[in-house]
Amino acid sequence: MIELKNINKSFDGKQVLFDVSAQFEKGKCSFVIGASGGGKSVLMKTMVGLLVPESGNINFDGRDFLNIAYEEKKIIRQEIGMLFQGGALFDSLSVEDNIAFPMRMFTNWSKDEVIERVNFCLKRVNLENVNQLFPSNISGGMKKRVGIARAIALNPKYLFCDEPNSGLDPITSRLIDELIAEITQEFNITTVINSHDMKSVFDMSDQVTFVYKGKAWWEGDKSQIRTSDCKELVDFIKASEF
């Protein structure tokens, strides 16, 4: 479980996150939804330590993640997998080497073991025979899938996905959604997903946090969204209805 308490974050005096508190549970897909510019990405980057908040607390299964040394942060980070909005694949490395990277960095597995795991991860995201291609030679959807494969390479305890299906066609989107939901349950991962794709939210969310103007405005599960009387949330849902 990941716990956030009273997170405040600003850039050059402009406050972006206001007193955000939230909890994300193990084995569940927790969604963070909200309008563009609301602060979802900043919140996620703060959670994984890429941004440092002015105040607040972040806990990973009871372990403080803020007030610890860089070297200690690295240990918790090795349990984190993250899918970036643009994939963030290493463009000097082939697909295979991208996925193998965390294994080569943090394990002493043999070459064969690494390749076996790479192929397992690729199969898991429905990709085959792309091992030797480079990121510049594969499509956006494939990049995202390779990004997921790399994120799950070392069986993370925590998985963060920033807009996993923005810019993808509906079929690939659903495929990626299903994939994330499956591995979350299968490996009992604490998964946090940023999204404004309401179809994903209604399909696969276990818990939803609605971020509005930098505040955690509403919290509940998908069955409560339709009946909510929170005006801002209702407006947001209405606007995204198709």
């Binding site: 980057k45 994984v48 330590g49 890429l50 860089y70 942060k73 690295k74 240990i75 918790i76 980070r77 090795q78 984190i80 993250m82 970036f84 909005q85 643009g86 963030a88 694949l89 290493f90 463009d91 990277f101 965390p102 080569r104 960095m105 943090f106």
Partner: protein, 247 residues
């Protein structure tokens, strides 16, 4: 105040990026790749520039000696020392600032804006060390090696131009070239080369690492890296010369 801040940032960056590699096998792979790229990419340009600089130096210094009381065979000696002491290390470093420095800044800058650096951090990798250390190790080998190579070629350039211009006989020139050779000039030149390689790599890496935005900003970072590396080279050239030649 702004400059002090920037300098502080630079020192913090050095502290973060210099140290024992986290995974030696990974480091070695990157190091070999960078070393090959730096050496291979720069071979041609260093060759051309060195030969021409040596050739021009011989003609110009020869021109100044004509009619003076200094015997002409000294020409070889003066040109040799100018090449070894100043032209080869400094000019090679300036050219490398443009090539290797620009390259490092844009490579790291691209990794930064496309979130590859963030991806490394998330995995629990010290991204500064992972990216910079192999490049630093490669450049402190590649650049001094290129400087030594440039010393030979610039003196070869001198011989060629003497041969064509006939200011002095080639045998007379070579006699001067081999006269009163002091090994300290090599120590001095290589000290400069090591210092310059360190400056080029770290300054360029910092600029790459600080890049925010997109492709446009990567271009700016690369330009800033080259300009500041060049200034640092000239400045340290002056300091080191003061310290080492006038003991």
């Amino acid at each position: 105040m702004k400059y002090l801040n920037t300098f502080g940032e630079y020192l913090l960056f050095l502290k973060l990026s210099i140290g024992r590699p986290e995974k030696f096998k990974m480091f070695r792979e990157l190091f070999v790749r960078d070393l090959y790229k730096m050496g291979n990419d720069s071979f041609g340009i260093v060759s051309i520039i060195s030969i021409f600089i040596g050739a021009v130096a011989a003609i110009q210094i020869g021109y100044q000696l004509v009619g003076s009381l200094v015997p002409m065979y000294v020409l070889g000696r003066i040109v040799r020392d100018s090449n070894i002491l100043e032209f080869s290390p400094t000019v090679t470093a300036l050219v490398m600032a443009g090539k290797i420095g620009g390259n490092i800044a844009s490579e790291i800058g691209t990794m930064k804006v496309s979130e590859q650096i963030d991806a490394l951090e998330i995995m629990g990798v010290n991204s500064a060390k992972h990216v910079v250390l192999p490049k630093l190790a490669a450049s402190v080998i590649a650049i001094p090696a290129l400087v030594i190579y440039s010393m030979f070629l610039s003196n070869l350039g001198g011989i060629i131009s003497v041969n064509f211009s006939g200011i002095v006989s080639v045998s007379g020139y070579i006699q001067g070239l081999l006269m009163d050779f002091d090994g300290f000039s090599i120590t001095y030149a290589l000290t400069k080369a090591f210092t310059f390689s360190f400056l080029i790599t770290t300054i360029s890496a910092v600029h790459g690492y600080k890049t925010e935005g997109g492709a446009l900003e990567v271009g700016w970072a690369s330009t800033r890296a080259v300009v500041q590396s060049c200034i640092a080279i000239i400045f340290f050239d002056f300091i080191l010369t003061q310290i080492m030649l006038y003991k």
